[in-house]
Symmetry: C2
């Protein structure tokens, strides 16, 4: 007998029929003798509907009140799923984040989980009840309703699995696992039977939107066994997220090619090359609540250098505006920027110990005449900024160059 | 400075624009120096939408889970109204029933309020914050979400007014007060500037759906000053609900004519006229969770009598089925029943001390050839069951017979 936490996203619970399908799947696991905790998102479209309602009342909805409104989406789903589970003959009980006591900080709309009281759930599980928990939401120490930000239901699932010391946390989604890249772009893309947390983190943050980044970090921190599965197929092992130490030696050097079209790049030209200058530029950007992704600064000459970084495309105009006084202040020569870029990344734990990955990537792009605008590397990835129009081509040729269509 | 509790129903908060109008009205009261607590219902249609969703998963939705689902309707409204209040420059804060701690029993879908912790709200009010509370919902001692049944938002409003010792509880609705009867049937119907609690109770339970019965009982018990007003008009005093001892001597004998087409009548013929027989009949009906309204038993002869009662039309078939074995068991002669009836009631505190009201009513109906099928009387009303097709005619002629179109 195992304790399984299953998380179903908005698409998987998008209609009464789909909720019934989830109930049947839970019943199968329960019937095999497992204890099951189910975490659910709002029915697809519901959170957006609620946000749109809120925006009709305030352009920038008050964060505390927005959380009161949008947390209702998951609350509806837990009640409906508990009904569906009862209808197939199981004992079931729903809990909001507040009822479990998923305690978070008070950062409304992007709260972080501080602790989880798991006693109530444990008591239910021990008497054979299926526990249904609202994802995405919690409660702060003062009793205010909080939400964890987009994709927060994954985090709820992983956090519950950690608190309950579950044997596995299964993330059901509309794909049947993690692929070497997006199969819509590369039909030969292959499902990975396993992937390390670090690779997953890179793939998630780079646009393979299977799992929310924070949930993967959480799983890594608390050593939660995490598996991504399809909620629309009854068969399939999905993709297991592993710790690096468990990784088999024969696994591939490169796990996948990720890409993102969500970014914009900004280069400040002729920046005085002196200590503190990066902070003078990025400090105001951070103060404006803009997250910076890639940062590139090359060796300067004549006391001047160029300083480049990328931000989310939604923050592009805001960032440019924020930088206007900065450029004057630091007496930079000017600014060039663009939001018609894409970031393509080659990801793989194996690249740490293998030279030549970068040069293969650069050569492959060069052979197709794709100009590289920025490069940034970490231990397990190489990210390359290119003209947006080459996105699909770059992903296809890189996928082929690293033979990702072939099983290991 | 007064402390005012205002309750707005589903129609009054049925769209973002209407929520903005509520915010403006609240701002006016707040601007006059009053402390304001606002209780809101779900946006119109929302509760029905949620119930329909639930019924797609269970024909008889599990009551605990149904409350989890439908309580989200009010939760959305409180968040939206708090945003609208902030948008017009007020301090505002929303509370679910659970957050206030409106503690109820555990009778899901029809819970009763046991107590209200008013400290949080009081602290907010004292610092000038408008408090927005979700109507219709509470929490039981174990932390389960409960709802109070249809119209329960009125009860929430009155209960909060009682707990906070508010100066007035204002119920905003889509009518501008309580009328002598339905103006759609009798254009001469007149708004009453005041009415006693007892009359209001009768008018509410008889189909003048201005206020939920339980809320009026609650207001009577805790001496809450209650006023019904229109949320669509800025002027108007509405109708004040008074205690009988405050009632002015010159007030009318009859306050209004109520009617209901929601009932069905059942007569069991040839019932043995012995002690305990009424219980043998109505016991199983009650066990089937059917509420009985009028009960009539006449003097028997030859050891037999006829026993009649009315139930809600929705419970009609269920009641007939419940009675099948009962009739055999008590060896009654048979059953006659019908759901094409209407109940018309003449209501007025004044009739206690005035003979002749009943005879005026009976004569008026007789003059129009309307047959009386059942009669039931209390101290402040006479209810008459007639053929449904005569409803409007009966209401019109009774309204005229008691000169209700004329101001007192």
């Amino acid at each position: 007998m195992a304790l399984i936490v299953q998380k179903y996203g908005g698409t998987s619970v998008g209609s009464p029929e789909r909720i019934q399908n989830v109930a049947k799947r839970v019943a199968r696991w329960h019937g095999q003798g497992h204890q099951v905790v189910v975490v659910v998102s709002a029915m697809s479209g519901e959170t957006n509907r609620l946000i749109a309602l809120a925006k009709q009342l305030q352009d920038q909805p008050d964060p505390r009140e927005l959380d009161v409104v949008i947390s209702t989406g998951e609350q509806v789903t837990i009640g409906l799923l508990a009904m569906a589970l009862k209808e197939v003959g199981l004992k079931a009980r729903s809990y909001t984040g507040s009822q479990v006591r998923i305690v978070t900080d008070s950062a409304f709309t992007k709260a972080r989980i501080l602790k989880i009281d798991e006693q109530l759930l444990r008591a239910d599980l021990d008497e054979g009840t299926v526990v249904v928990v609202a994802g995405f939401q919690g409660v702060d120490e003062s009793g205010n309703i909080t939400t964890l930000g987009r994709g927060g239901s994954d985090t709820t699932g992983v956090a519950l699995a950690a608190a309950l010391k579950a044997d596995e946390c299964q993330i059901y989604t509309d794909v049947d696992g993690v692929y070497t890249t997006d199969p819509r772009i590369v039909p030969e893309a292959r499902r990975l039977s396993s992937i390390t947390f670090e690779e997953m983190l890179e793939l998630a943050s780079l646009g393979s939107k299977v799992l929310q980044t924070r949930s993967v970090e959480f799983a890594g921190k608390y050593k939660v066994r995490l598996r991504v599965l399809s909620s629309f197929e009854d068969e399939g092992e999905g993709t297991l997220i592993t710790f690096e130490e468990d990784r088999k030696m024969e696994q591939a050097i490169i796990s996948g090619i990720a890409f993102s079209r969500d970014e914009a790049k900004i280069t400040i030209l002729g920046v005085p090359d002196r200590p503190g200058i990066a902070y003078q530029i990025l400090g105001p950007v951070g103060d404006a609540n803009v997250d910076v992704d890639m940062i590139v600064q090359n060796v300067g000459h004549d006391g001047l250098t160029d300083f480049s970084f990328t931000v989310h495309r939604n923050d592009y105009q805001k960032t440019l505006k924020t930088l206007e006084p900065v450029i004057k202040h630091i007496q930079a020569r000017g600014i060039v920027s663009g939001d018609k870029i894409a970031k393509v990344s080659v990801v793989g734990v194996g690249m740490r110990s293998h030279a030549g990955i970068a040069s293969t990537a650069f050569r492959t792009l060069a052979e197709e005449g794709i100009n590289i605008e920025m490069i940034s590397t970490s231990e397990i990835k190489i990210s390359i900024v290119i003209d947006e129009k080459y996105t699909e081509l770059a992903v296809r040729v890189l996928h082929k160059a690293f033979h990702l269509e072939q099983p290991v």
